[in-house]
Symmetry: C2
Subunit: 304 residues, 2 copies
Amino acid sequence: MVKQNNVNYGKILFMKTALIQQKYYGTKDATIQQTVSMIQQAAQQDAKLVILQELHQTHYFCQNESVEVFDLANSWEEDLQFWSSVAKKNGVVLVTSLFEKRAAGLYHNTAVVFENDGSIAGKYRKMHIPDDPGFYEKFYFTPGDLGFEPIDTSVGKLGVLVCWDQWYPEAARLMALKGAQILIYPTAIGWFEDDAEDEKQRQLDAWIAVQRGHAVANGLPVVAVNRVGFESDDSGVLKGTKFWGNSFAFGPQGEFLAHANHQNEQIIYIDIDLQKGETVRRWWPFLRDRRIENYSDITKRYRD
Amino acid sequence: MVKQNNVNYGKILFMKTALIQQKYYGTKDATIQQTVSMIQQAAQQDAKLVILQELHQTHYFCQNESVEVFDLANSWEEDLQFWSSVAKKNGVVLVTSLFEKRAAGLYHNTAVVFENDGSIAGKYRKMHIPDDPGFYEKFYFTPGDLGFEPIDTSVGKLGVLVCWDQWYPEAARLMALKGAQILIYPTAIGWFEDDAEDEKQRQLDAWIAVQRGHAVANGLPVVAVNRVGFESDDSGVLKGTKFWGNSFAFGPQGEFLAHANHQNEQIIYIDIDLQKGETVRRWWPFLRDRRIENYSDITKRYRD
């Protein structure tokens, strides 16, 4: 039975949301144990929506290409049952990020959203797949084929996207045009230690800036939940990645709501005003004035 | 004769650009005189590209709806000749923003780019037209019908857009997909004095954030040139607008380049590295991974 869980303070409808920024604890079991503990804390704090980072069950395994790693997806069905029970037990809508085995040789990077009664509210298969040194995702994940569809839940329509999607204004816009009330990005992004400090800052700033831009352009709150901590490349080829944390939230006017640091596990709580987006869109009616008759070239690779 | 004016410092091609943030001097003549003086200064400083703010010849006349105001567009042909001569005399590529009279009863908000020999390099008719209290542009300007086409000049392909366009990721993307090397936004945006200080800050931050997002998403430098100073509503209905200045530039990684204040006329100089965009796009190959087969709903008003 789905609980209608938003809290109505007078005229303003707030949704208490928890962003769980976490590190990897060396094994899946130890990591999950910590995640569950943090979800319990969030539920005790009355969070109604809990968001986990990308591929939160394990290390970020895309630092190299290894066929053995596909074994991690063998537990896909069990993983669904497990997180279903966690959502139900804690009475929260839970955004997870799992390694989906769809068939032998066919895998996806899939966000699964569980209702607070443990049912599956919906899935989103990561649409934009990166591939660059240390992030060899094209080897592991078939690009998603479910499109950009918000997931309807008891706390609102969630525009769940994943990591590399965050750099694409098209993805955010398509979610907004389908009625998403919030944009949510589970993420695993970090620095190479050898990069200069100013380059690290530029990368972090750009990552925040592009997503804040989606909030403004679409009049929607934006939440990103990133992994934290150093993880080595177990192939020994690369020097590993320092995941930069910095999970954040902006409101529908692009206003700052919350920001985690770059080094610690943290649960960030935000009260999302689900009605403010409509107010902002009345002030700034961008959707009214889109020149849709002139946008068709967006579907081209390049206008050449 | 077009001069090839970019300065090649070893392997790096810089383009010295001047952003002229200006106030209105009570008459068109006085305002233009000041603008020309600032362009001369910029040329003496060796700027190759000079960018003026939106509707820089006059006050921002859209604070009310008045049929007499269309008289301002009667000088369209003379205006073209005048700014052509200024561009030629100073040997700069000049981005102007003019009130175009196309026919009786048919007007556009048009950016005209002049080559450094005085020829017209191209025009852009503002595509997205706002309409909200104090910014009644739908009364004055027919939405542009030239599409989103970069303008080819001796200093590069300029993705010239105007003001309200800056809130639309589609416009920036279409310019990028057609080979724009820089995004340029002449602008007239400001505060109402009655707005609370924190609301003013949110508006300013959002305006910067969304355009910085375009830089990151497209791997392109972004420049916005805004008007400054208070202008009353000569109909007496509204209390007038304090144009907030804050002209700025970000590089192709979204990195900060320059920023004007909110109260003074200023010429901001930036050296734009026209090759850095390619480097950034190699690091972050967003164009490689766009899911164009799934973007067609961008051309819908809403996905309902």
